[in-house]
Symmetry: C2
């Protein structure tokens, strides 16, 4: 059994309204020194296969379903 | 400058419709061996303070804004 983490981030330069709004709200709550907030989507998965196959499957999942290659980067991490 | 990752996960036993639907769709696309899919929300932040203070600030952000303690667990990781 392999455990993978799939991280899907916005590419540099793509607007991140969730991150921006979170940062504004944190500031309005009195948090100081917050320089940047980026929102990231993560899927944790258990796959019944080798770690090598799981990494490949995770990357194919991103290409076929999970990520939008125009605005997002993805990374598959075996844990 | 400290960089932290805030991971917000659903507690065990709490329904995860996003994870469930992702798993179903992956299966319908022909991916085999997928045993579980959990959706996780992550915020990457840069904070202008020490790593120790950043970890404390991240935990306070979760308590005050980012996490719902009834259904979610959070973890602050200094990177």
């Amino acid at each position: 059994m392999a455990r993978i983490e799939i991280r899907i981030e916005l590419k540099k330069g793509v607007a991140d309204p969730e991150g921006k709004n979170t940062m504004k709200t944190l500031e309005s709550l009195g948090f100081e020194g917050v320089k940047s907030v980026s929102s990231v989507k993560v899927f944790d998965m258990e796959l019944d296969m080798s770690e090598e196959d799981a990494k490949k499957a995770g990357e194919e999942m991103c290409r076929k379903l999970l990520a939008n290659p125009v605005i997002q980067n993805y990374k598959v991490i075996v844990r």
